[in-house]
Point group: C2
Chain length 226, copies 2
């Protein structure tokens, strides 16, 4: 929650990073909803910093596409339409297939151990797990793939759509109560493909995994359009 200590004395990290961290947390947990208005003075007062660092954090989030800044109107949490669902999915498939291909030949024992830890947690919690926790495990699994891919720019793109993917996964879990049972086997198969060391198999498995998730999600017309 507080990576810097208690915010006394000289901060080890810049205040802008602190604000950014708080806002990322609020976006991922749903405290901030799409369409919400982010007023600089309000945030500054809330976090006990001046408007400068707040502006910097907002700029970074805009570059990632998580918020939109309109001139003289302020920052708004991006509203996700059905077109956005498609954009995020297609972009994710494009980059994650590449990440998997690279990870297949770069996996270390430590990465595999992390896979297995997450899979174990998925297996154990099957049947009785909250949607939010399932999302956390799911994303953690894919984080490991990007880490193993050892590709800075790829990781940056993933970071920029990660919280939006989180939002979609959460929506899916809430609407498809079978989520605790499908998570484990799907990721287990993905793990095996990655560990096989065969880049093409890893690509294919990732494509299958993601298209499955997308078809489930696109069935419900919950996300508003344009």
């Amino acid at each position: 929650m507080d990576s810097n200590g208690t915010r006394n004395g000289p901060p080890r990290t810049s205040l802008a990073d602190y604000v950014l961290e708080v806002l990322r947390e609020r976006l991922a947990t749903g405290v901030l909803q799409p369409g919400d208005h982010l007023a600089e003075p309000e945030l500054a007062e809330d976090l006990q910093v001046s408007r400068g660092p707040v502006r910097e954090a907002l700029l970074t989030l805009q570059a990632e596409g998580q918020i939109e800044i309109r001139r003289h109107r302020g920052a708004f949490v991006s509203v996700l339409t059905s077109d956005d669902v498609e954009e995020v999915h297609t972009l994710r498939e494009a980059i994650e297939v590449l990440a998997a291909e690279r990870a297949a030949t770069r996996l270390t024992a430590e990465h595999i151990a992390r896979f297995d830890d997450i899979l174990e947690a998925m297996k154990v919690t099957s049947g009785s797990v909250q949607p939010q926790e399932a999302v956390r495990l799911d994303l953690s699994f894919h984080d490991v793939i990007y880490e193993a891919a050892d590709h800075l720019r790829l990781a940056r793109v993933w970071q920029s759509i990660r919280s939006q993917v989180s939002f979609f996964l959460y929506t899916r879990n809430v609407n498809f109560p079978d989520f605790p049972t499908v998570g484990f086997p799907e990721h287990k198969e993905l793990r095996d493909a990655l560990c096989s060391g065969d880049p093409l198999r890893a690509r294919q498995a990732t494509a299958d995994h993601l298209s499955g998730a997308y078809t489930r999600l696109s069935q419900l017309d919950l996300p508003p359009r344009t």
Copy 2:
């Protein structure tokens, strides 16, 4: 060159956007070299604005990975290693193949006309063209693909690596004097594949086009490593 007029009176675009535009131009044309230090007061004096907008522009460039900001040390133009060449290429292939696939079924007559205008310019200037102008035409061609793809997030990723691609293209052109002759036929074929309306053919043509450019570039060990 100056999208706002002459910078008098109220700017139609924000000053931060103006600074960003100037810096992008300087990065793409090589006025700013990798490793160069960007001092805020100096830039502010140079562009006749205060440090605020300069900081905002630097923040955006950092989010795109074009510069690195080190605490209390300032901003430095990213140094591109051979690993970076590979990263940029693999990421570009991943997203541009998707862009081409989408563009194939979304091309309008206006897009095709733009393709043909650029191709005409490539053909006419064959034999006597400066490396810099060849790069400009090349990038313009691919800009149209991303525009036709109608995918905001894809366009954003492209924007984030565009000036780095520009740098690589320029390096290639300087070292391979045959660049005026290969540009036209390669892009002509790409145009035909896109206009065929066949997504798979567009994908394949794009992959071929990019891998050709990469193999040429990776032959020279000019970019420093680590």
